[in-house]
């Protein structure tokens, strides 16, 4: 069987929806005010997670007081600062998608999207590299960290180096397929 053999089936296929009645559709159109709800919801949820994590840290500081190691403060401060540009870029990306011109041809949108998407992924990749290097520098210039047992220090370094090395393959694995599909589509 081939695609052409199923053309008739496509024509006769019906897909039901709750907005099939013309008046309902008109009312719906008249009442439309905003969109992008789902993506904004996800973004707010992510931001809420970050806020909860920071509130948790503040609670930890209050609970532990002076017994808190100084490198912990530095770690949280460094990751917090590094998160800002990536979060900003993600927020802008969502706004960018919402403001896309959906009436132009798919190819034009795809070219613009690919360029934007690749830049966002570069931000993601490089901000991860920078934060890891900054954390390593902060750790090894911190008296509390240097005083930690050898095994703990090695574990921390191995973890950071692993994240450093896996960032690029991870990005390629998670986001690369989509880029490849788009690029393949655009290829003459």
């Amino acid at each position: 069987m081939e695609l052409d053999d199923l053309k008739e089936k496509w024509k006769t296929a019906t897909v039901q929806s709750s907005v099939d009645i013309k008046d309902v559709l008109t009312k719906k159109v008249s009442s439309i005010k905003q969109s992008g709800r789902s993506i904004r919801r996800v973004f707010y949820i992510e931001m809420a997670f970050v806020a909860v994590a920071y509130l948790g840290f503040i609670w930890l500081v209050l609970a532990m007081g002076d017994s808190m190691f100084s490198y912990m403060y530095k770690l949280v401060a460094a990751t917090g600062i590094a998160t800002v540009p990536v979060s900003w870029r993600m927020y802008k990306s969502q706004r960018w998608i919402n403001s896309m011109d959906y009436t132009i041809d798919m190819r034009s949108n795809m070219v613009a999207f690919l360029s934007y998407y690749k830049t966002t992924l570069r931000w993601y990749q490089w901000s991860t590299y920078i934060i890891i290097l900054v954390i390593l520098v902060l750790f090894f210039t911190d008296g509390d960290f240097i005083a930690l047992p050898y095994k703990v220090k090695v574990t921390a370094v191995v973890y950071l180096v692993a994240v450093f090395l896996l960032t690029e393959p991870y990005i390629r694995m998670v986001y690369g397929k989509r880029i490849a599909v788009f690029e393949n589509f655009l290829k003459e």
Binding site: S17, L25, V42, M100, I104, M106
Partner: protein, 163 residues
């Protein structure tokens, strides 16, 4: 009182409800997601409708909006890690569609990537290459090449399903 522009727009969209639902069905497996996509398409079309000058057919314009929306709304889902269970898709298709060959067609379409899906949908709607080219932005030759590849991929998929 209903806005006359909204009424005019709704009437035009109403005439193309069938294909809009099929596009939603092609890109979204879950009925709630389909409903969300439908609303998103209507929203994007309505937002741009005042700028629609009639240089292309309304249907061509609407297909562009619908497919662009489907591609990027889909992107949001994947970006945030939402996945679809294949067995669930098959179960839903079987439950929704009584005819075996129609179910087979939907299942085969589900196996295509999101861009191949867009071309297949337009092809199944029997749009001429010129119109598919206007919607996708590809040249007519490029559309023809893509369709040949997609057809052979579909044939293989259908064979795998025993058809």
């Amino acid at each position: 009182m209903t806005d006359p522009l909204a009424k005019q727009f709704s009437e035009q969209v109403y005439n193309h409800l069938g294909i809009l639902h099929k596009i939603c069905r092609t890109y979204k497996k879950d009925p709630d997601d389909r409903n969300d996509l439908f609303q998103e398409i209507v929203y994007n079309a309505w937002k741009s409708y005042p700028r629609f000058e009639g240089r292309s057919k309304f249907s061509t314009w609407l297909y562009r909006v619908a497919l662009n929306t489907a591609l990027y709304q889909n992107r949001k889902d994947r970006f945030f890690g939402k996945t679809i269970d294949v067995e669930l898709i098959q179960h839903n298709v079987a439950a929704e569609v009584k005819d075996d060959n129609t179910a087979l067609l939907w299942m085969a379409i589900n196996k295509l990537d999101e861009l191949e899906k867009s071309i297949v949908v337009l092809y199944l709607e029997e749009l001429p290459y010129k119109e598919i080219s206007e919607i996708t932005g590809l040249t007519e030759n490029h559309v023809a090449v893509k369709l040949t590849r997609i057809k052979s991929k579909m044939k293989k998929i259908l064979e795998d399903y025993g058809a």
